[in-house]
């Protein structure tokens, strides 16, 4: 992958690589609260079935994961674990923040023990709003992430460019 990391990969090759990455996302589930059950429905329920989008929700450890879905309330006590998880994941890595709690604190916006948004700790690619978001909303979030992956320059992640949202 030296070619990709150095940013010298030709355009068609990049497209091809992105296509491959897009449909083989290994998703690590970081279920923390109520939203985790909706995430469970996305994974476990035949009605939603995330695997049809090419997402594999059963990596054995964060070291194999491309995507982590932070779903639920992030507390100050939990933050160190989340940081450690994020550092363990290999690049390129993506984060979906699911639910109002993970986005901004949600109903606990004034609590003394809840972190007001997981984006204070790790960078987030897609925010899925709702309390809890319907399973369809998480699927939509994953589709958005896939769109983003297919359009991105893979080298940017290695270079550590700031992530621009468009």
């Amino acid at each position: 992958m030296g070619l990709v990391a150095s940013g010298k990969a030709p355009k068609p090759l990049t497209k091809l690589l992105n296509l491959g990455r897009k449909y083989s996302i290994w998703m690590y589930q970081w279920g923390l609260a109520c939203c985790a059950i909706e995430m469970g429905a996305v994974i476990g329920s035949p009605r939603y079935d995330v695997m049809r989008l090419g997402v594999i929700p059963f990596p054995a450890s964060p070291r194999q994961a491309d995507l982590v879905v932070i779903s639920g309330t992030v507390t100050d006590k939990m933050v160190p674990s989340i940081l450690r998880l994020y550092q363990q994941m290999p690049d390129p890595k993506y984060v979906i923040s699911m639910g109002s709690c993970a986005n901004c604190g949600g109903p606990y916006w004034d609590s003394y023990s809840v972190t007001k948004g997981v984006d204070q700790v790790i960078p987030v690619d897609v925010y899925v709003p709702g309390c809890p978001p319907r399973p369809e909303a998480l699927l939509e979030g994953i589709v958005l992430l896939q769109e983003r992956i297919s359009n991105e320059d893979p080298a940017a992640r290695w270079r550590g460019d700031p992530i621009v949202v468009d």
Partner: protein, 219 residues
Amino acid sequence: MTQLSSTDTDTSAEAEPQPDERREAWAARLADSLGNGYAEHHIIGGSDLWVRVARDSWTDAATAARDLLGCQFFDWLSAIDWLPSPFGRDMDAQEDNPEPKAADPMEQGHAGGETRFQMVMRLYSITEHMGLTIKADLPDGDLSIDTLIGVYPGADWHEREAWEMFGIHFNNHPDLRNIYLPGEFEGNPLRKDFPLLARRVKPWPGIVDVELFPGEEDS
């Protein structure tokens, strides 16, 4: 459908007047066994019983309730901070320097009380189907009380919670440390004078929604 009746679903036979007498009897028996440690009680007919005891009789009260009244079921234990909130009305932002107001008088609830902090414990008898709430005053200078672990082992975690949330010390508790909050947390969140910092930054909009919907004109 087969017969699904349970052994004693027959609640209609239980006419209402008895419970009050039963609660009076409970209060009387507790008062008997505690003697001077017993302060007062409050009964709401057909509904509930509150008993206040002295701090030193706290464990005795629990033992008596368990052995004499048959309250084997340990429901919960906690405390109440009766200080009126120094941050004004509930909905307001908690400003940094609230204007000094005339302090509201402290008012204790059922079964009275004299001090700011009060212990509350709830016990239940599964044979009598009746519960009671036992309270005890804690003097302001010395927030400590005996542990109930010897009577109800389940009190362990509840006491740790009360210790962390109110800063109440439990004598002879084997393992008094934080249960919820990270170790470096400062303060006792459930005390009324513990401010919620997020409210200082952004006040609560109010009881009615004041934000306009997109596209709506301000009239």
